[in-house]
Structures are given as C-alpha cells and as structure tokens.
C-alpha cells in the first residue's frame, strides 16, 4: 500500500491498464510529452510509446468521435477532455453516437470508451474550469457515469471503468487531485456500488466526488455536538446503487444530498425522488439538497460562496433533525 495523490493514483491505474491490455490507448490534448495539464498521464508516453499514448489536435468532438471509430476497430480508448467546461463540444458525439451505438448496431458494436474529465470547482480556475456536468451525462441512456472521491476510489474505479464494456464518463474531482491517501493497487473496483464512508445514526449525507470529503468534514464537526452523521459516497451515478442509499436512509430516517452542480434538475433531485419512492414511510423529514446555486459557475474570487460549505451542510442537517 502506497501513499498516493489522486493524480498519482489515476496515473497508476492508467499505467496498469496499458500494461495489461495492449489494445488500450490513451489520447487527448497535451497528454503525451507534457503528461496532461494535471500530470495524470505523466510518463505514460515514455513507457508505452507514441503509438499508444498520443496528443491530438485541439478538438473535443474529434477526440470522442475518433475514440468511437477506434473502438469499432477493436481498440479500447481512454481519452482525456482537459476540463469539464470544454466537454460540451463533444456532447453531440457522446449523446448522438457514443451512447447509442450499441443499440444502433443491435449489440454487435460495443464501445468500451472511457472519457476522463477533470471536474468541479474549488481550484480558483478561470471560466469553464469549474463545472459539474454529471447531470447531462446521467440523463443520457447508454452511458455510465462515475465520480470518484479520492485516490483509492480513483484508482479502483478508473480500472473498472476502462475494463467496462460500456462507455463510461469518468469525472475526476480536480480539487481532490493533490490529496494523499493509501492506495491498494491490488484491489479491484466495481461500478455501481455506493460506499458507506462513515457510519452514523441521526441523518445521512449523500455525495460524490469532491463533496464526499466535505461531507466527512461536516460529519466530524457535527460529532463534536453529539450528532452522528452517516456519509455515503455514491461513487457511480449510473448505475446508481439505490439499495445502499435507501438502506442507509431507512436506518437514519433523514437525508441531505450535497453536490456542486446547480440545484434545478441536478442529480440530487433524482436521488431525492428515489428515496421518496422507495422508503417514504421511513423518512422522518423531507430530503434536503445543498448544492451550487442556479447560476453559471462563478468567478474564482467568489466560488467559495457558491460551493456547499460546512455551514450550509450543517444548517440543512439541523433542519432535517428539527423537522
């Protein structure tokens, strides 16, 4: 077990997959010689050569569109979109083709494409560098949507995503890129399973990506006041592990969903609806959401006021406890 940052853990996952499957390819903007703007692909071109790890022209739609063609030719592409806000030029290829090709070919053409997208805010980035696009992808049938919360999760889930027979949108929480954690390179991940990060009895905090760590901080703060919060990391939004979420909330009777993306039609609404549909009688309070506001992602100087923080999370917890 090694102490790795999320960047290093993802790099290890890519390295191990490239080693184990000679059909795996890594490509995107600046992923070759530079090793990616976040260095996630650092040293991969050196080890695996320009044939399997290569830079592309600056064109996101073409990165995804050519990944589809490469997959049709029997390759296993892992492509990088440099930032969340730049994933939209490729959205047409993702929705129109990547998600639908298995169906369009009656299952004859599987597209095991993984699209890595550094996501979320909190790093003081310029415009288009702090967005949380998960809902766009989660709403598109045919895709899997995975959002790891830290290094150990990142390593396991990225390997599982690359091996998955379906296209996977892999959202990397960039504000967690430099967090260190013990990573077990032997542990295999599986998509579609949520994880209880912290056990508690009074209410459940539900999150994914960077907000998982924030919920843990909130739970620790609440514990000082004698409130024991359970924290669940969804890990994968599609498929969503409704069973684990509802089992937790059935136990605590109260839930707060926390995400960086705006409130309206955010994925928190889906989770809230699922809980209502499955365990309505066990709920002791309405499911609340603590999210970004319904505005374009704001400028760096004020992003801290946009992102869910401990005060907002704990206020929502108090509301469900007082209900």
């Amino acid at each position: 077990m090694a102490q790795l940052t999320l960047v290093q853990a993802l790099n290890q996952a890519l390295r191990h997959e490239l080693r184990e499957d000679p059909r795996t390819l890594v490509f995107g903007e600046d992923v070759g010689r530079l090793g990616g703007v976040f260095r996630v692909t650092d040293g991969l071109q050196e080890e695996f050569g320009e044939r399997r790890v290569f830079d592309t022209p600056l064109a996101e739609s073409a990165i995804v569109g050519s990944a589809i063609g490469l997959a049709l030719a029997g390759w296993r592409p892992v492509c990088e979109i440099q930032f969340d806000g730049f994933s939209y030029p490729a959205l047409d290829q993702v929705i129109t083709n990547l998600a639908k090709y298995r169906g369009r070919t009656r299952g004859r053409a599987a597209l095991p494409v993984t699209i890595r997208i550094p996501s979320g805010g909190g790093i003081g980035g310029p415009e288009h560098h702090g967005e949380s696009p998960e809902t766009y992808y989660a709403h598109t049938a045919g895709l899997k949507v995975v959002a790891p919360s830290g290094p150990a999760e990142g390593y396991q889930l990225l390997r599982a995503a690359i091996r998955d027979p379906d296209p996977v949108i892999f959202l990397e929480p960039k504000s967690r890129y430099w967090t260190k954690e013990e990573v077990d390179a032997a542990a295999a991940g599986r998509l579609g399973q949520a994880r209880i990060v912290r056990e508690g009895t009074h209410a459940t905090l539900i999150a994914w990506g960077a907000m998982t760590a924030r919920c843990l901080q909130a739970a620790e703060a609440a514990a000082e006041d004698g409130v024991e919060l359970e924290v669940v990391d969804c890990r994968s939004l599609v498929p969503l592990d409704v069973d684990t979420l509802s089992a937790s909330v059935r136990k605590t009777g109260r839930a707060v969903v926390v995400h960086e993306a705006p409130l309206t039609a955010g994925f928190g609404a889906e989770i809230s609806a699922r809980l209502m549909e499955t365990i309505f009688r066990d709920l002791k309070a309405p499911v609340l959401r603590v999210t970004g506001y319904d505005i374009p992602y704001p400028a760096a100087a004020v992003e801290a006021a946009y992102l869910p923080d401990l005060d907002r999370i704990l206020t929502a917890v108090q509301k469900v406890l007082d209900y």
């Binding site: 569109g65 009656r106 969503l240």
Partner: protein, 309 residues
Amino acid sequence: MAFTRRVDQEAVALQRQGELTAFPPLTGQEAAQVGSAYALQRQDFAFPSYREMGVAIVRGVDLVEYLRAYRGDWNGGLYDLYAHNFGPIASSVGSHALHAVGWAMGAALDGGGKAAIVYFGEGATSEGDVHEAMNFAGVFRAPAVFFVQNNQWAISVPVARQTAAPIHRKAEAYGFPGLRIDGNDVLAVHAATAEALERARAGGGPTLIEALTYRLGAHSTADDPTRYRQAAEVEPWRAQDPLLRLAAQIDDEDFTRQVVEEVEERVRDLRTRLLSAPRAEPEEMFEFVYAEPPATLAAQREELRQWHS
C-alpha cells in the same frame, strides 16, 4: 445500378402504401454510390449516411435488414455491420465522419492494408465534425477517403448557401489531395475511388473526393422539391442520368433488357420478404442499451412487460 434504382423506386412506393415510415431516395446518385463501393475491398470499412442504399447493396447487406430501419423496426438497421464492414445508417449529418477516421486510425495501428470510406453530402461539409474529421485524418495520415456526393441540394438549400468555396479544395487546408469528379460516370467514379483507397491502404493518407451528381428525387418522402427548385433545373440532369449513360456505354439492348427482367424478379422477392418480416416488439426497445441492464432499467422493462402481458 439498375437494381439500386429499382429498389429505390419500390421503397418510395412502399412508403406511399404506408409500409415504410419514410425513405430518402437516391435516384440520380447510383453511379457515385455503386462505382465507389465496387472500389472497396473486403477488409475496408464503409461508413454510410442515410442515403447510401447503393453502397449497402454492393457490400452485400440484406435489404430487408436495411429497409426495416425505414419500416420503423430498428434505428440504424438490423444488419451486422461487421459481416459487411458497412456501418449503421447514420442520420446525424456529418458526425459519422469522425468514426471513419477513428476506424482508419485503428486500422493503421494494426499495421495498415485497410481503408475507411465515409459518405456524406455537400450539406454535411458545413458541419464542424466533418472539418474536425478531415483535420484529424490529415494530422494522423489516416487511411480514410471522404466521399462527398455533391447532389446540389441539402433539402431545400442549394450548395451555394453551404459554402463559398469549391468542396474538393477544402482538402488542401487539411494537407491531403482533393479531387472533383463526374459523379454520374460510374467508371470515372470507380477509377478515382480505387486510386484513393489504394493510396490510403499503402499508407499514403486520406483523400477527399467530390462527386458531382444530382438528387433527381425529393430529399425524403416527406419532402416536396417543387417548393424550392424549378423543373427547368432538373431536366438537364435527367439527360445526365447515370443509368442512361451506362446503358449508352454498354450499347447492348439485349443485355440491358435481361438486366431489367432480373431486377424485377429480385425486387418482387425483396418486397415479399420485407412485408412478411416480423415487426419489432415493444420489449425490444430495452435491448442493447448496456451490456448488462442496470437495476432501474430491468425494472422498467418488467413494468412494460406487465403492461403488454
């Protein structure tokens, strides 16, 4: 070509009879499609748009499995793309050009000797994906042939409203050869496409071919071309009908009569098989979304099954 023309007419008739939901006819473009498709080898891969039935025929695709897409049974067609190296029917204009380039990049990584050809119209050359595809193909020297059927009209919009520059010259900007050919001369089409494919297979990179042709019919069975073009414009193109030109070159009336008879029989058979093919069942819509359906999807399928049981 004669069979393609006759099936095309039959498909329009079937739509009028309510047997197809819609159909985009290709009459007038047979030389461009059939001539280029015969230049393909078995290992090459063709990526069609939605109007390439002539290519499908040459690639050996069963037309029942092809036309059932237009019967509304399954989007993309029911044929096996790998059995014929002929991609699914692509209705999103131009986006499949990138798949052809990706496939070509993959073929090159596997050692070469194969080429991709992608079919689209002059209207698609206004789409960003086509330009990104040509740029990728140029940069990676992908063994891809961009085959543009410039049939003069994108539904109601003429080519002059799509681009201010000749289409074949766009290749220059991406660093590979582009040529304009008489798309109604089947032998010219075949020769030009064979040369481009051979260069691609040998590692010589991509080619853009602009085949000048004309869509003699409507954009689709839902379209009415009298609203946007004059009969006087169409007439000269009727004189350039690729079938008439080929018949004149063959210059053998017995032979052409024999072809027409054979074609009639094949079309009768096709019609019978198409109309007796099973129709899609609602439950099928849940198939092939994922390798393994997630729990939520399995539950929805079960719900639908109960509604229909």
